[in-house]
Symmetry: C2
């Protein structure tokens, strides 16, 4: 899954030589939109939110990054979005310059990053549909299915979905307010599609019905 999953021992050694570790507390900022792209990162543990802010305080979260995800895929000279830790997180940190050099040496590394960029592009475009054309309950259903699918990819259980982010983050990801997010949870609960033992745990009772509500099944 991670960027290094395609590398052999020799390549891994070269990668580790230019690597350092960065730890973040919850809500600590990693980088800010507009800064020169000096370093790139690979997430080891934790969760990161990638977002853009408007001058008046409105915020759009473009995505949540999980272990194995890479930070800096979209950017050339400067970071195009800000990144903050959602929960305490650990990252591998690389000089962007060193990484570029290594990409030149190891085609497999470059190919892997290129592939991850394509995956990120598909995810962003899927999200455009969610933001532009889905109703609040549909948005939430699609979000829960996405989290479930991503947990499964990481080898974690797909079904009791653990929400590491709060309602504000979910709202800012789905283009809603926290009240509407909360009401949408209640609707899904009332319809018998999910169970909420606590505010941060979602048990999907009917994957099939939830997919129908979402209108789509996310293919990431």
């Amino acid at each position: 899954m991670a960027v290094c999953s395609v590398l052999d021992d020799n390549e891994l050694y070269a990668l580790e030589a230019i690597m350092s570790t960065r730890k973040l507390a919850a809500n600590e900022m990693l980088l800010e939109e507009g800064e020169p792209k000096k370093r790139v990162f690979s997430l080891t543990s934790g969760v990161i939110r990638l977002y853009t802010s408007l001058p008046d305080g409105r915020r759009q979260i473009a995505g949540f990054l999980f272990p194995g995800d890479y930070i800096g895929l979209a950017d050339d000279e400067v970071y195009s979005q800000s990144a903050e830790a959602v929960i305490p997180s650990v990252l591998c940190s690389f000089s962007a310059r060193d990484m570029d050099e290594l990409m030149g040496q190891f085609p497999k590394l470059k190919e892997r990053l290129y592939q991850m960029t394509r995956i990120a592009l598909r995810a962003a475009r899927d999200n455009q549909l969610v933001l532009g054309r889905l109703a609040p309950v549909e948005k939430l259903a699609s979000f829960l299915l996405l989290l479930s699918a991503r947990a499964e990819q990481r080898g974690e259980p797909a079904n009791p979905v653990h929400l590491v982010m709060n309602r504000i983050d979910i709202a800012d990801y789905l283009g809603l307010t926290i009240e509407t997010v909360s009401r949408s949870f209640t609707k899904l609960k009332t319809q018998g599609l999910i169970h909420l033992p606590d505010a941060n745990t979602v048990e999907i009772l009917s994957h099939r019905s939830l997919s129908a509500v979402a209108g789509i099944n996310p293919h990431i």
Copy 2:
């Protein structure tokens, strides 16, 4: 701008050898979401819309492609979105297999496609903010500025923006209805920010104020 802009004569020759030409009438479909990715394309002239549809007919246009743009950047095995001509268009068509092979031979070609993918990712993420957090008038203002900037990139005049797409397309791109798009045009007109000699021509009267309304200035 186009994929071939970074190639030398030798490389161009190899590219032309595997190329064929595809012409599309207005509203003709080029490819459909889910089909195996047999061919990739570079747009020579015209405009293409890239979109996703829901079973109930709702549609989200992820973006409009202009001359120089590439079709197939996001996809691996299958196309992740459908593509149709907005107006009569001409494309260079390549076998995806041949193109992959050529990318292996010519690093500059691969690098260029990688770069175009990063640009597309930034555009998609910018659009997430537009879809999720901007009000209708703000959405339209940002769309007009985007079209203006893209025209300038192609060496065309930036100011009288020519709308090649109809209100339905604009609505499906911005996550609105055609009525709201039309009313937003009227609002921008009333505020003295634009002038509409006819429904498909927008004269930007105050780039500054329009940017302020949009809340952001698109950096693509």
